[in-house]
Every structure is written in C-alpha cells, then in structure tokens.
C-alpha cells in the first residue's frame, strides 16, 4: 500500500476544524476536574458539617454531561470512535475508499438528523408555546437553568459535528480524485 493510500484509510481526519476541536476539548475536559472538586466539597459538607448543598448534584450532572457530549466530536476529530473495519479491509483498495466515503455520507446524515432533533428540543426549552422567550428550569430546590444550557450546548456539539462531517467528506472525495491519477 502506498503512503497516500495508507493516509486515506487511517488518519484522514486532520482538518483545521478537527485541530481546533481538539484544542477546545483540552479546555472543556477541565470540567471533569471541577466536577471532582465540587463533589468532594459536597461529601465533606454533608458528612462532616451536616449541611448538604442544593447546587452540587445538578451542576455536576450538567457539566459532566456537556463534557461527555463534547467527547463525541473530540473522538471524531482524531478518528477514535469504535468501528469494525475487518470486513471492509477485505475489499480491494478502491472499494475500501468508496465505502469510507459512503460511511462519511451516512455520518453526515446522522449529524443533520441529530442536530434537527436537538434544535427541536432546545427551541422548546427557550420559547414558550405562546411564543415568548424564557429559559426552562430544572424545577428542583436549586431550580437552575442548567437544562437549557445543556440543551444549547448539545445542539452546538451537533452543529460542529455537521461541519466536521462535511469537511471529512470533502477531504476524502478530494483525496479519492487525486488517487485516481
């Protein structure tokens, strides 16, 4: 296999957007540290001072949820999602490339559908049926706006995923054309 083909099938995903997503991810991942610290604080407050907080539980869930959602595009940018390529590898090189392009098309379809679903949900968390702006709250003791923030964040993740999927697809199609010559 030539170097060119190797690159096409193994590490094809290095676009500028991917690098940017990884860089931002290195910041987002500190949310995990914050979650650890505030959960520790909660245990100490509850166990030793008998005064549990109202905000830790919800905040932890929200920030960790956002970090995990971000993980999806983080993995997509360095192609570390689990996929089974054993069968695909049995095909001739040319067909492997075609299948890879087809898979990227499907990822694009998924990202658009997912973004639409998240948009549908987020818009309902932001606009009342009467058409005025509000922010959906958690309805707990803390009654935070975390649900709305998390929904917006997940929507943004899906929008980034659309952009990523487009760029991956374009890059593969271009590389496929070059490979023909």
């Amino acid at each position: 296999m030539s170097d060119h083909e190797e690159e096409f099938l193994v590490n094809e995903c290095d676009t500028a957007l991917d690098r940017w997503i990884v860089k931002l991810g290195d910041i987002v991942t500190w949310l995990y540290v914050i979650a650890v610290l505030i959960s520790f604080y909660e245990v100490i407050m509850r166990y030793f001072f008998n005064s549990p907080t109202v905000w830790v539980h919800e905040t932890t869930t929200a920030i960790v949820g956002m970090a995990m959602a971000y993980g999806g595009i983080y993995c997509f940018s360095n192609d570390s999602h689990i996929s089974v390529t054993l069968v695909r590898d049995l095909f001739p090189k040319k067909w492997q490339k075609r299948i890879a392009i087809f898979v990227d098309c499907l990822v694009l379809v998924f990202s658009v559908g997912g973004a639409y679903a998240m948009y549908y949900m987020t818009s309902r968390a932001l606009i009342t049926p009467a058409g005025t702006f509000y922010m959906q709250r958690s309805g707990s003791a803390m009654n935070s706006v975390w649900p709305t923030i998390t929904k917006i964040f997940i929507l943004l993740v899906f929008i980034l995923l659309i952009a990523q999927a487009c760029l991956h697809l374009l890059k593969k199609i271009r590389a496929y054309g070059e490979g023909e010559e």
Binding site: G25, D26, T29, W30, Y32, V33, A35, V36, S39, F40, E42, V43, Y47, H57, T60, T61, A62, V64, G65, M66, A67, M68, A69, Y70, G71, G72, I73, Y74, C75, N78, S80, H81, I82, S83, V84, T85, L86, V87, R88, I99, A100, F102, V103, L106, V107, V109, F110, G113, G114, Y116, A117, M118, Y120, M121, T122, R124, P147, T150, K151, I154
Partner: protein, 440 residues
Amino acid sequence: MLGLSALGIGPATFLIFFLMMALLLIGMPLGFLTGLVALFFTFGWFGPNAIGMIGTRVFSFVTEYSLVAIPMFVFMASLLDKTGVARDLYNAMRLIAGRLKGGVGVQTVVVAALLAAMSGIIGGETVLLGMLALPQMLRLGYDKNLAIGTVVAGGSLGTMIPPSIVLIMYGMTSNVSIGDLFTAAVIPGLILVSMYILYVLIRCYINPNMGPPAPASEIAMSAKEKLAAVGHILLPMTIVVWVLGSIYGGIASVTEAACMGVIGVVVSAIIRRELTYSIVHSALQQTMRTCGMIIWIGIGASAVVGIYNLMGGKRFVETAILGLDVPPILIVLLMMAILLMLGMFLDWIGIVMLTMPIFVPIIKALGYDPIWFGVVFCINMQVSFLSPPFGPAAFYLKSVAPPSISLVDIYRSVWPFIIMQMVALGLVLTFPEIALWLGN
C-alpha cells in the same frame, strides 16, 4: 412518513437488526450508526413530529447522575496509569511470589484484582499488566501461553470486581441499585480470581518448566526495600478502602465515591511527588477520548432502544419470549447465548444499552432477581472481552506486547481462561446464592 409502520413490528425488528449489522460491517462508528438507525425509524415509523423524542432520549441519557461515575472512574484510572503506583505495587508484590513455582503468575493475578478494586475499567488494566507482568514472566521463562492468558484474564477482572463501570451501566439501564450490584459481584469476582490462581499453580506444579520461580538473587530484599515495599502495597490498599469504604459505609453515592477515588489518587501522587500538570493534562485527554467513545455508543443505543420500545418492540419481544412454553432457566440460557453472540461483534456498552432494557423486564416477569442477572451478565461480558474475533482485551494486549507475540498467540492462550469463566458463569446460574448471599 415512509410508512414503515405498515411493516409490523416483527419484520421491523429484523430490519433494525439487519441495518445495524450492515452498517457495523461497512465500518461505520458504532455510536453514530445506532443513532442513524434511530433517526431512520423515527421518521419512517412515526413521521417528523416524533423527532422531539430523540432529543429527549439524548438529553436524559447524558444528564443521568449515575452516569457521571463513569468519566470519574476513567479519569481515576488514567491518572493511575500515568503515575508509578501500579508499577511499584507490582514490584512490591514479589514478596508473595517468593520462590514459588508459578509465583509470578499468582502475583500478576493478585495485582490485577487489586487494580480492579481500585478503578474498574478494562483497557488500562490489560495494558498496564501487559507492560509490567508479561515481560517479567517471559524473561523468567514462563510458558508463553500461560503468561499471556494470565495477563489478559487478569486484566479483564476490572469489569467484575467492584467498582465496575459495566455494573454501573447495567444498574442505570435496569433501575437497580448499583451498590447492591457491587456487593453481589464480590464473591463471583473472587471465585474467578481463585480459579485463575489455582490454574496457574496447578499447571506449574505439574510441569515446573511452565513457570519457573525468580532466581534467589532477585527475590532477596534488604530491610529497607521491604519497608518501601510495604508502603507501595499500603498506598493502593488505602485507595481501595477509601473508594469502596465510602460506598459501603454509606458516606457517598457511587458517583461521589468515584470523585473521592480521583482525590485519593491525586493525594497519593502528591505523596509520591509525581503530580505534575502534564500528568493531569494527559489523563484528562485520555478521559475525554475514552468517555466520548463510550458515551456516544450509549447515546445512540439509548435512542434506538427508545424508538424501538415506542414502536411496540419491547412488548413484541416480551410476548414472544414469555409465550415460549419452556422452563424459565432455558430463557435465561437463551439470553446468555444471545449475549455471547453479540459479544463477538459489539462493545459491552452497546450490548448493555441495547439488550438490557428488553431483557431485564422479562427476567423480572420470570421471577428472577435483576441483581443476580446483573452479575451473570457481567461474567458474560468477561467472556466477550476475551473471545475472538473481537475480544477487546486481546487488542489492548497486542498494542503493548513484544512484537514476537501475535494476535493468534493471544487467542490461543485465552481459551483455558474462557472455560474457567464459563464454569463461573455456570456456577452463578445454578446457585444464585453465590451472588445474592453477601447482600442479605
């Protein structure tokens, strides 16, 4: 919209299964393909107005409090990987290996069990043991197959011995107490550990060439070294007590205990003067990658199961299975067979999320204890970690093993351990008390 509902739930079930298999085999990422199938059926069966459901499934999945424990345990394990805690523990444990035939093998299993009790994720442990224990055993002239098998089987104990992220996912999807699951998994986990140890000892007793003891010069330790060794064993033990103690002592929830575990590892890294920014940073990156992968498989699977249930799939499978005129245990065995088969193709998280929402209600309807089923499921997943062609443990080990060891070598080495796991599975199936006794 596409009028898929005209198909009826039976054929639709097969269509879902066929689509997922086809997409899996052309190499689409698992996390995305399940989501795609979910979207396809949402539109095709219910029409565009049902799309809100997908959003709700995704949102409620990622904001589930119990799920927070997973990134925390992954973070903890990544930190452990990057410090020398495991290496020092392994070296100190040569105290127990001594001049025993097969001693280093036993040492490996014991260290594996301790590491498993500290964190509960699989890949990292297999990699660690592959780097620490495998070269050591090969150098001493251990039988290659015995050495590899011990490392792979020991490394996958993390799923069984609490805290285990497999049990956390199971508890979440089937609405049973994660703490109770952890308790129930203790004895079956220890049974597996003892079987591995006995196996190594018996093989080496019959044929001493399989696992020669370390030369006396290597075992001799000065008093100072012994003291240091005790320290290296005490530190990890403290973390184990700290994490499991805060769960069983009722001080913290499982999620909080996972956070406490991170604190515990950070403190021990400070004591060992190993804590640097770059260690924390690369552990965080690893956490982001591992969780992104795991959680997105969960997101997609959660969406597809949600849609399938709404289509009436759950009722369809329940009626089909409960309508079978066979003893309940046969149904359980059928489920085991399905799980083992899926284990050859899918990742554990996909299996939990796809099958448990359907299987567990059936198990309850048959009058079985869902806690017991969780443990049975967990042993089942142990087998799937090892079994070819997609046994993840084998791939993890391959990534760090000496180049002379091929995947074929690894698969040749694991079968005695798979048999032992099957025996343990049979034991827990036949005598549910093994799992349930400790909790009562």
